[in-house]
């Protein structure tokens, strides 16, 4: 039932995007290039958000995701450039977990405020990698104080028959690609988006996306997951039933760091070909926002990360498409107005119509958005989505509250 609903929404979304493409001629809205870039840009955010999921479900707020990603990205660049990409990804996970260990010691063992500890870790991680990079540069093994040597790339592949790819020397046909080239309204749009999502995908991306159902399984279908979540909902009750709450919180935070570190490593190794300073650029925070948007559920965070990835991909590829996206906002606002009107809320319906009218006016008044403003798209999307979604969120009941076994806080 739920899968049908998601499918229906996804179809509607593609239909609206295809219509806007026809109206505005912004072909990048549904091109396979955009879809594939969106996927690539979503993966680090998905990984960060998964990290946040494990930590927050265990009751530890993790603003430090950003710092753990930074450490992962650096380790990915350092180890990856010496011992190959897979070793680099592994090192990224380890380094992310080291950052997480500090966070766990501070918050779980010593009961420091979670946000304070997280921010401290972000500041320290940024400083630490800058220091280490400088040392390596001075030692002569790095080309610059802010970037690592190049890293070997991990090979890409696609789904057999549907979207090309190579299997044991056999070159598969590319059905979706040929449908996409036919330029039929909607059908080709759908095909090219699917082609972008399933063709020329890095193996790491596949693994990362598989982590989402895996996280769901671990957290909601195993005893370990139940215990971990109970530590985030009602630690005192959990403790009284024999759950080692400290251990669960440590586990949650360490897994969190592993995911975040992997996300950082992905940025250095898969999304780019070496480590660069400021590569993470706030993606840890966006991952956290995606998690909140997804109401602390694996499926939801995937949708949130996908949205930010799409906004990011569009702004990178084609600023005209962002302009066309204004029409998309008009469509959403009109939809909201319709819903509100049916629910009997005339006032909010009128406000939505007014906002839609303003956006439409803006669309016609401005021919092209300047580059600096286009780069703001993912952040604006984050804020808008948070503003719309925040009120129906339910975070784990004991999230962010320092827990101390049997006594004084």
């Amino acid at each position: 039932m739920k899968a049908m609903k998601i499918l229906r929404y996804a179809t509607m979304l593609v239909f609206v995007l295809a219509s806007i493409r026809i109206i505005t001629g912004a072909s990048d809205l549904t091109s396979s290039g955009t879809a594939s870039a969106a996927l690539l840009l979503s993966v680090p955010i998905v990984l960060a958000a998964l990290g946040g999921l494990f930590s927050e479900r265990a009751g530890v707020v993790n603003i430090g995701l950003e710092g753990m990603m930074i450490m992962g990205a650096w380790a990915g660049g350092y180890i990856g450039s010496q011992h190959g990409p897979w070793a680099g990804l592994f090192a990224a996970m380890i380094f992310g977990s080291i950052g997480a260990l500090v966070h766990a010691i501070a918050t779980v063992t010593f009961g420091v405020d979670h946000v304070v500890s997280g921010v401290a870790i972000n500041i320290i991680a940024a400083g630490l990698v800058r220091y280490l990079s400088t040392l390596l540069y001075q030692g002569g093994s790095w080309p610059g104080p802010s970037q690592s040597p190049g890293i070997e790339s991990i090979s890409l592949n696609g789904l057999p028959v549907l979207s090309g790819g190579h299997y044991f020397g056999w070159k598969s046909p590319d059905l979706l690609g040929s449908i996409a080239n036919l330029n039929w309204f909607f059908v080709s749009d759908m095909a090219s988006i699917l082609r972008g999502l399933t063709g020329d995908v890095s193996y790491v991306t596949v693994v990362a996306i598989c982590f989402v159902p895996l996280a769901y399984f671990i957290l909601w279908r195993t005893a370990f997951g139940l215990r971990l979540r109970s530590a985030g909902e009602a630690p005192v009750a959990a403790e009284s039933l024999g759950v080692n709450v400290y251990a669960m919180k440590y586990a949650g935070v360490l897994i969190s760091g592993g995911f975040a570190g992997l996300g950082g490593g992905f940025l250095a190794i898969v999304a780019a070909s070496n480590y660069q300073e400021n590569q993470v650029a706030g993606r840890g925070y966006i991952g956290l926002a995606a998690l909140l948007f997804g109401n602390y559920r694996p499926g939801g965070l995937l949708a949130g990360a996908g949205l930010f990835g799409f906004a990011d991909a569009l702004q990178l590829r084609d600023s005209a498409a962002i302009h066309a996206l204004l029409l998309f906002i008009v469509a959403i606002l009109a939809f909201v107005a319709f819903r509100k009107f049916k629910a009997g809320k005339q006032m909010s319906a009128i406000l939505s119509i007014a906002a839609a009218g303003f956006t439409l006016w803006f669309y016609f008044a401005v021919d092209e958005l300047p580059g600096q403003l286009v780069t703001m798209t993912p952040y604006i999307a984050t804020i808008l989505v948070m503003a719309l979604a925040s009120q129906r969120l339910r975070m784990p009941a004991a999230d962010g509250i320092p827990y101390r076994r049997g006594g004084l806080r």
């Binding site: 401290a120 925070y285 600096q372």
Partner: protein
């Protein structure tokens, strides 16, 4: 927090008060020594070089100039911390405050003091307005202010780059540096060299101490007074310490949240000005980045108290300035970030440990009193 029991000074209590900073200092010296040893140098040489360079008159002036914006921004953050909130958006607020105050401030000429006041008002208005977005989202839509202010930082970066390059910057032939029109002399704040000369300080090649130093000191005093000695400050702290109790006793916590964030943004708007009004006299591409983030560390280290933040701002400034000398003995100057980071983390942990220890002591004392 401070009840009759803890008001009395006893040796153990004084010891506890010193214990946390001392432990943090020892731990961070240990960590930074390890960092220096990792680059195969002697930590003793490193600390000696830093101390010798950092305590020259010229360096000390620079330390103050580095610390001044940190301090103002830290006060902005502390206002929200005291109200149980966290404004990570100081970086964006101060950037927009500085940009708009330079752009609008250069449009007119007023008598000297009035002009500076007008520039301050512009900076506070735009900083406050930017924070008001987060405040609105928090109060009306329930958006966590930590997330929204982080996003607003990114937006402020993009917006200021756009406004500077497309609207506010002067077009100069053959120059890559974009900058706003220079502020008239009436809007500039002279440095404190004339005053320092009277005190027997000689001129330094690096220039004097920014006049905004006094503004920072005044802000610190106002912060201390308002938070600790007024009804508003009490309500602010109450809604931070125990929102439910505050609401029951008639404090409108939503209103306090909104006001705290906007005031914080307004103060943050000022923190970009010391360098702009004292030295560059215009907003340009080289505007110093990262003040808002270092200030978070300063506020945490200073325990959100006016005096504590002053000390930690000066300490951060000292580490930053004096570490430049490390280059002379082939150590990466970036070592200072390790020092700042380890001080921050170890002090945060040490204060928490001491707080818990004190709670245990208090409950034991209380038990004794009750039994007797």
């Amino acid at each position: 927090m401070s009840n009759a029991l803890s008001r009395k000074f006893t040796p153990s209590k004084v010891g506890l008060a010193i214990a946390a900073p001392l432990a943090a200092a020892i731990f961070s010296i240990l960590i930074s020594s390890l960092a220096v040893i990792a680059s195969k140098k002697s930590p003793v040489d490193a600390f000696k070089t830093m101390w010798e360079f950092g305590t020259t008159t010229g360096s000390l002036m620079e330390v103050i100039n580095t610390a001044t914006p940190y301090y103002i921004a830290a006060i902005a953050i502390a206002v929200t911390f005291r109200a149980g909130l966290f404004n990570i958006g100081v970086e964006g607020q101060l950037r927009l405050g500085a940009l708009f105050s330079c752009y609008i401030g250069a449009m007119f000429v007023l008598p000297p003091v009035l002009h500076v006041a007008a520039v301050f008002i512009v900076a506070m208005t735009f900083g406050g307005l930017w924070a008001a977005i987060a405040a609105y989202l928090k109060v009306k839509r329930g958006v966590n202010e930590v997330i929204s202010t982080i996003m607003l930082n990114a937006l402020a970066g993009g917006l200021s780059a756009y406004l500077l390059s497309k609207h506010f910057a002067l077009v100069e032939e053959g120059s890559n540096n974009l900058q706003t029109k220079e502020l008239p002399a009436s809007a500039q704040i002279p440095d404190l060299m004339p005053l320092l000369r009277k005190l027997g300080v000689e001129d330094q090649p690096g220039g004097g101490v920014y006049g905004m130093f006094f503004v920072a000191v005044a802000l610190g005093l106002i912060f201390w007074f308002v938070v600790n000695r007024t009804r508003f400050g009490f309500e602010l702290r109450a809604s931070g310490l125990n929102p439910i109790a505050a609401r029951v006793s008639g404090v409108n916590s939503k209103k306090m949240t909104f006001i705290a964030l906007v005031i914080s943004g307004a103060i943050a708007g000022l923190s970009g000005l010391p360098e702009v009004l004292g030295q560059t006299h215009s907003y340009n591409l080289g505007f110093r980045a990262g003040i808002g983030f270092s200030a978070i560390a300063v506020a945490l280290l200073g325990r959100n108290s006016a005096g504590g933040m002053a000390i930690s701002a000066l300490l951060f400034g000292f580490l930053e300035v004096s570490s430049r000398a490390l280059e002379l003995i082939d150590i990466a100057p970036e070592t200072y970030v390790i020092m700042q980071g380890s001080i921050l983390l170890s002090s945060v942990v040490a204060y928490e440990v001491v707080r818990r220890f004190r709670l245990t002591l208090q409950s034991k004392e209380l038990a004794k009193v009750v039994q007797a």
